[in-house]
């Protein structure tokens, strides 16, 4: 046997066989687990949206979503409307939360009309407008769900990322970072300014809510810049919708 293993024919046959076997194993795993994985992702989106508007099971320091079993009921209870904004046209779509932001961003680059989803939630008599946004961090994508009131003052935010550095950039999904956004203004004197992640705002406790700045995470400069840029460019697209709220 061992003398055969060096022949070219054997090598080629072995490689072919291995590719087929490995391919089959992986295809089997991928296709049999896909429905479960997709369902997990769908539930996560609902959990993220609810988290942003304050429907969560947070304890003192950690971020905890509503549990998987409850999420469907809570979502239909709190989320009153799901809108899709296309230019000046606003329509309702019960599956707007499934819109893939990444695909829409690519479509916009190709010159197509982008669909902007916006979720309207109500809790304790307050109305929340929750926008999903997506941008670039240091290594890969970062994204967020930002809940605002009608004046574009942030009421809650959930940040997440694909592969930021553990202990540094990955801390954007920590409570101490996300909670800094609560109460922060996106507008400055009526114009959209966004919220910058600042390393020099002399306000580490984030008492000043109208400075359009929150305190940065040490060692996560590029991730922070990515988050600032994402907020600035993505939430700006919603300004015209918020303006229609004022005139009504």
């Amino acid at each position: 046997m061992s003398k055969n293993t060096d022949s070219n024919l054997y090598t080629i046959l072995f490689a072919t066989g291995m590719v087929i076997i490995v391919g089959a194993i992986l295809a089997f795993f991928a296709s049999s687990l896909k429905p479960t994985i997709d369902e997990n992702k769908r539930i996560e989106k609902q959990q993220n949206i609810l988290y942003a508007m304050g429907v969560n099971e947070n304890d003192e320091t950690s971020a905890v979503f509503v549990s998987k079993g409850k999420v469907a009921a809570e979502f239909s209870k709190y989320i009153k409307k799901q809108l899709v904004i296309e230019g000046t046209k606003v329509s309702e779509d019960a599956n707007a939360y499934l819109i893939d932001i990444k695909k829409e961003q690519t479509a916009a680059k190709e010159g197509k009309q982008r669909k902007l989803p916006l979720f309207i939630g109500e809790k304790d008599g307050k109305t929340f407008y929750i926008a999903p946004i997506r941008g670039k961090g240091l290594w890969d994508a970062v994204w967020a769900y930002v809940a605002m009131d009608a004046n574009m003052v942030v009421q809650g935010a959930y940040f997440d990322h694909k592969g930021e550095t553990a202990g540094l950039g990955a801390n954007i999904k920590q409570r101490y970072f996300m909670d800094d956004f609560i109460g922060e203004h996106l507008l400055k004197d009526g114009d959209f300014k966004g919220i910058s992640i600042s390393k020099s705002n002399n306000d580490p406790k984030n008492i000043e809510k109208t400075d359009n700045e929150v305190d940065a995470i040490a060692g996560a400069t590029i991730t922070g810049d990515g988050v600032s840029a994402m907020i600035k460019s993505e939430l700006k697209k919603y300004v015209s919708y918020f303006n229609t709220l004022k005139t009504n």
């Binding site: 072995f14 490689a15 490995v22 795993f29 997990n40 950690s62 890969d140 694909k162 550095t165 202990g167």
Partner: protein
């Protein structure tokens, strides 16, 4: 020791200390730098490598007589990649929260040179049981160093352990911070991981002079 002969037991215990993959063989340094900024990530990486290296070593060992030597590195790579993808998919399906925390680390296991190193140096020449022990031993030896480095970097860099503020609150100035202690942000950057590993190597070699190479 009915289960393990003396030789077999050495396969597990050697990599733990005198033949440690990181401090002696100097394998797996890249991941030791990249993911040890916090303790939790270190632990998770250690467990994942334990799993992949244990099983991978057995698979390679079982195939050792039929692998054509010309393409053996590619075959090894495919085995690691397959195992890692399966782990990733299973976690995504059944432990979604956990798989989110692990994120990129799972994929990074493929690039861990300890795994390819053990396949090449041990599993290709030894039987499955011995290979399994060797895999576990090396993964534990790797994991221990990772956890030690992660412990010091998180403690001195962020003042926390597993996310708990063990030294007090740096902003509210409680605990140790009330007497003027400050976190060392440099600990969070990759160069300090290398220095911590260096200190471990120093301590280990000064305790066991047999490890010092002749120049």
């Amino acid at each position: 020791m009915g289960l393990l002969s003396k030789k077999d037991a050495a396969l597990i215990t050697d990599p733990f200390a005198d033949n440690n993959p990181i401090t002696i063989q100097v394998l797996g340094i890249c991941s030791a730098l990249a993911i040890t900024a916090e303790l939790k990530a270190s632990i998770v990486m250690a467990v994942s490598v334990l799993f992949v290296l244990g099983i991978g070593n057995v698979v390679i060992s079982l195939m050792r007589n039929i692998i054509p030597s010309k393409i053996r590195i590619i075959v090894q790579l495919i085995v690691v990649a397959t195992l890692v993808i399966i782990v990733d998919l299973v976690l995504k399906a059944f432990q979604y929260e956990l798989s989110k925390t692990l994120g990129a680390f799972i994929g990074l296991i493929i690039t861990n040179c300890i795994i390819m190193g053990r396949f090449e140096a041990f599993a290709l020449a030894n039987g499955p049981w011995k290979s399994f022990l060797d895999g576990i031993g090396n993964a534990v030896g790797y994991g221990v160093i990772l956890i030690i480095v992660g412990f010091f970097r998180e403690l001195l860099g962020s003042g926390t352990l597993l996310g708990f503020k063990v030294l007090g609150d740096p902003i509210e100035k409680t605990g140790l911070y009330s007497i003027g202690y400050e976190n060392n942000g440099f600990m969070l950057l990759a160069p300090m991981a290398l220095i911590v590993v260096g200190i471990i190597i120093w301590i280990q070699r000064s305790r066991n002079e047999a490890l010092i190479e002749d120049n």
